[in-house]
């Protein structure tokens, strides 16, 4: 009895297997192999869109990694020239804070209003500036390049006080410095080949070379406190002043008289004896402004 039922079971399982084989034409083992076959898995994944999504993800990761490395690389850059000058000027002011003595309490002289008025009268609009008053006679005046084209004007309070300069006279001095700054005399004279070479480049994987900052700072001090400006530069600036002020005789006269006042002052005051060396010279400037003498 048992043997008969076993035979029936074997027959029925054979029949089922063969019917399945007939339906798909594939063996169970073959199907199992298909599951193990990665190409088929790939096809299934492709059908589901998973492979595409994985590819997209990999692409995103690649882009992100690239961006990240770009950001990381940027952190190792020397400042570009546009960002460098304002930074160096302030760096120099900070390093020489005690010598220049600019951190002191002073009254509001209203210089911003008078300087802005003069600039606007002469047609200079949308110009940003910073004025820093110094409580020392060591540096009488200077204009340093700031950020985004703005100027940093330095002015000695002991100088303007001893000379008893009016707001207009101070503004004229500042305007003269503004023209010097526009001509880029200071930049050209303090710049070193290293600045051109390094500005805006990367030092990733290397130790940063900061010697150019020290050199620039040293050159600032030398130019503004020892060497000053050349006769040629002074001549050009005086002629420019002449051109801008000529249309306004009141301003022109004020400037001409101011030069005479400075000339007499620096010649008689030992504390400011170097002024004419740094800004040669008020006397010459007056001569350059004076109309040529007629020979009869």
């Amino acid at each position: 009895m048992i043997n008969i039922s076993r035979a029936k079971l074997a027959l029925s399982s054979f029949l089922i297997t063969s019917s399945l084989f007939a339906q798909t034409g594939k063996l169970q083992e073959e199907k199992e192999l298909e599951v193990v076959n990665f190409n088929t898995i790939k096809q299934v994944l492709e059908k589901d869109g998973l492979s595409e999504s994985a590819r997209r993800k990999a692409k995103e990761v690649k882009i992100l990694k690239k961006e990240q490395s770009k950001i990381e690389e940027k952190r190792f850059f020397y400042p570009v020239e546009q960002d460098l000058w304002g930074f160096v000027s302030e760096f120099w002011l900070v390093k020489n804070a005690q010598l220049l003595n600019w951190d002191f309490t002073k009254p509001d002289y209203g210089l911003d209003t008078s300087f802005s008025n003069l600039m606007e009268k002469l047609g200079f609009y949308q110009k940003k500036y910073k004025i820093l008053l110094l409580n020392t006679p060591s540096l009488v005046r200077a204009a340093l390049p700031g950020n985004n084209g703005e100027g940093i004007f330095l002015l000695s309070v002991p100088f303007i006080r001893t000379m008893d300069l009016s707001k207009l006279e101070i503004s004229l001095l500042l305007f003269e410095d503004f023209l010097r700054l526009e001509e880029g005399y200071l930049k050209k004279s303090v710049e070193t080949p290293k600045v051109k070479k390094l500005a805006g480049t990367s030092f990733q994987g290397k130790k940063p070379d900061l010697s150019f900052i020290t050199e620039l700072s040293k050159n600032y001090s030398e130019r503004l406190m020892v060497k000053g400006f050349t006769f040629q530069q002074q001549f050009e600036i005086t002629k420019k002043m002449d051109g801008f002020l000529k249309s306004n005789p009141e301003l022109w006269n004020a400037y001409f008289q101011l030069l005479g006042k400075i000339d007499r002052f620096v010649k008689s005051n030992n504390q400011y004896k170097d002024y004419s060396k740094l800004y040669p010279s008020p006397e010459m400037q007056q001569k350059w402004l004076s109309p040529p003498e007629k020979v009869l």
Partner: protein, 131 residues
């Protein structure tokens, strides 16, 4: 119970102070370096030095009277004053952030950072009008 009664006035006072102060918003310091001042005066003492992009809580309080161009602020645990012109609503791109490794390599000491902050207090800033 006695102790509780003794503490009561202080608790009330603390509650008044905290409810009186209102955070107006978060602003960002927009100069290279600067100071949180003890009073709303440029030359007043510094509570702490902050650098560009530093977030600053601007507070409003009926108990603190300040000039129009100054803001009453909180930076970390310090409450003091900063000129409004040095604050912006958007986080500025700072030089220190842009040239991080270069700036770090300069190794500026505390006194130099202090002076850099003072520099912005001492500047007389101006701009000529648009034509």
């Amino acid at each position: 119970m006695k102790w509780l009664l003794l503490l009561l006035p202080f608790t009330i006072q603390a509650a008044t102070v905290s409810t009186d102060e209102k955070v107006v918003g978060i602003f960002y310091f927009n100069e290279m370096f600067g100071h949180v001042h003890q009073t709303a005066v440029k030359t007043s003492g510094s509570l702490t030095t902050i650098q560009c992009s530093h977030p600053v809580k601007v507070i409003e309080s009926s108990k603190v009277s300040i000039p129009n161009d100054w803001a009453y602020v909180q930076v970390a645990d310090y409450k003091g004053f900063i000129e409004k012109g040095f604050l912006s609503t958007k986080k500025p791109d700072s030089f220190q952030g842009k040239y991080l490794k270069f700036f770090d390599a300069l190794n500026l000491d505390l006194a130099e950072l202090y002076y850099w902050g003072r520099l912005n207090d001492q500047y007389i800033q101006g701009e000529t009008r648009v034509k």
